[in-house]
Amino acid sequence: MKTFYDEMLKTNEINVGRLTENINGDLVMRALEKDGMSFNDMLCLLSERALLHIDILASRAKEMTDTHFGKNINLYIPLYLSNECSNSCSYCGFNVNAVIPRNTLTIAEAEIEMKRIAATGMKNILLLTGEAPAKAGVGYMEHVIKIASLYFTQISLEVYPMDIPEYERLVKAGATGLVIYQETYDETLYAKLHETGPKKNFRYRLEAPERAAQAGFRFIGIGALLGLSEWRKEAALMFSHAKYLSKKYWRSDIALSFPRITPARGCKTEIAPVSETELRQMIFTARIYLEHAVINLSTRESAVFRDSMIGFGVTRLSAGSKTNPGGYEIHPEASGEQFMVNDTRTVEEVTLFISERGYYPVFKDWDISLNEKIK
């Protein structure tokens, strides 16, 4: 069966770099005015030239966000269950060589964390692990999901890529969403960054969202780590991936994330920084090209930046996040975190700001009774 991998090879042939460099103002404006935007139109909006028209991109993105999502901002919160990992991604704080306190929450500890989180009013939780199947594998996740179902109405996972039967077990347990970042869509760079560990299989990871959709996940999240490679090319391929998924797996909602990475401790990978303006351009383009996609903005970004993007493409924010296992209650002292949180406001503070901005902070957007009966 053909997958996005085959599509991606075609897209690579187009030479995204050259297209984005040869774009003039007329092409940008024409792309903006067009109904039914093509891949090449999207490239126009991602071009350097389009930066000159960023205000127009912003207003178009706002208009489309208002039309499709109204004045709503959905909220979610991550719960890091484990920072144990067998992969050696040098840009990641959890990589196997990083000297950090390693920890996998027991089921009882996970429940303590959940109770603490649930007290903030959060209903949508994202459960995360590294890649350590022996410590935090499918059986462990099934157990944690069932506990999470007692406290939350929507449960998403950010775990290592799996086969369809394993994903099906997680859906049956009560999970509705699956997030998996490709890290980079550049296969050659991917091979350099992931020399050892199970993660070195580029294609297996790339096709994970398709396996997840086939297994019954209703919400599929994808993303590329911004800073590993030339961002315009990464964004173009990520948007193309999202478009492909939304057409082929038309029952699933597709979400995009835009994590700008900063060097992890002991990081050997050279980071190509992406500016805030470039990130804005990327998010506006995503909204215009993928009008119905959910767009997340995590606490990696600053409070000021996140606040400024409410309604301008962004439709979902995390809040009150801790990125180390046990960070909410068991080990509140920050250590062994995956990345530094920039927006350190509490759930209440973020919620208040959203309301003051004239938007509705949505905690519950799913009902457990929609799920398959939990077995």
């Binding site: 208002d66 039309t67 499709h68 999502f69 109204g70 004045k71 709503n72 209903k123 109405t153 209703r218 939304s246 038309w250 029952r251 699933s252 909602d253 119905h292 309301s355 004239g358 938007y359 509705y360 949505v362 905690f363 519950k364 957007d365 799913w366 009902d367 009774s369 929609l370």
Partner: protein, 256 residues
């Protein structure tokens, strides 16, 4: 007496139904509800915590003053829709359900097969079913045959504000229907709602056009007036269109 809207075993004075999604706050939504004069408001079961009626949208809705119609938004198939409806009933809502089965989360177009299947099960279980449907006259008759209390064809894709792009099919549905016809989605402006009512629709359900407007309460009031005007126009009838002029003060006989 009077011009009442009869659905199932209930009668309503207002022909304006309102949705609760996409508003900037519960308070603005409540203001819109107040000025709209609507007597039916629909609430997505997936969005509210039915175990805590004092939270979310429910805290500003007084069931003594407004009929709360739960909807199955989010359901992608008949099983899910039926489960949601039954859950709402168990949680203390009435046995009325606005049936929405939309397998595609992007365009939210209704699945005709699954809608019929869900309607059949729900009607058998004693529910009063108000199904959201594409503007398909055959489907409307099939849903009526299944025992649905109304049919709710879309005027154009939900949230699009494009008005009655399905007008030709809507006219057929109205002409053939034995149950009230409620235009459910796509109405963008008060003039669209007025037109729907002039055509003989029994009511309009409006949400995005109000919640996304710059001044939602003012827009809600405009819709109320438009729906009332359209209804009056339908009841009063209109004069025929002609290609030639006719003076408004007839002069026949003066020259004789």
């Amino acid at each position: 007496m009077g011009d009442k809207l009869s659905i199932g075993n209930m009668e309503f004075t207002s022909r304006f139904m309102i949705g609760t999604g996409k508003f900037p706050s519960d308070e603005i939504m409540a203001q819109c509800l107040f000025v709209s004069g609507a007597e039916i408001i629909t609430v997505a079961i997936r969005r509210v915590d039915l175990k805590k009626p004092d939270s979310d949208i429910l805290r500003v809705l007084d069931p003594k003053k407004i009929f709360i119609l739960p909807n199955t938004s989010g359901a992608q198939n008949a099983d899910e829709a039926v489960r949601l409806a039954m859950f709402a009933q168990q949680m203390g809502f009435s046995s009325w359900i606005k049936l929405e089965v939309t397998p595609d989360p992007r365009y939210l177009l209704p699945d005709p097969e699954e809608t019929i299947k869900a309607a059949r099960i729900l009607v058998k279980n004693g529910f009063t079913v108000l199904p959201y449907m594409n503007a398909d006259p055959v489907l409307a008759k099939k849903l009526e045959d299944e025992g649905c209390a109304v049919v709710m064809p879309l005027g154009s894709p939900i949230g699009s504000n494009k008005g009655l792009t399905t007008i030709d099919q809507i006219k057929i549905i109205i002409a053939q229907s034995n149950v009230p016809v409620v235009i459910d989605a796509g109405i963008g402006r008060p003039s669209d709602a007025c037109l729907a009512m002039e055509l003989g629709a029994d009511a309009c359900m409006i949400n995005t056009a109000i919640s996304s407007a710059p001044m939602p309460p003012l827009t809600a009031r405009a819709f109320k007036l438009a729906i009332e005007a359209g209804r009056q126009a339908y009841l009063g009838g209109h004069a025929a269109k002609r290609d030639t002029a006719r003076p408004s003060s007839p002069v026949d006989g003066i020259s004789k």
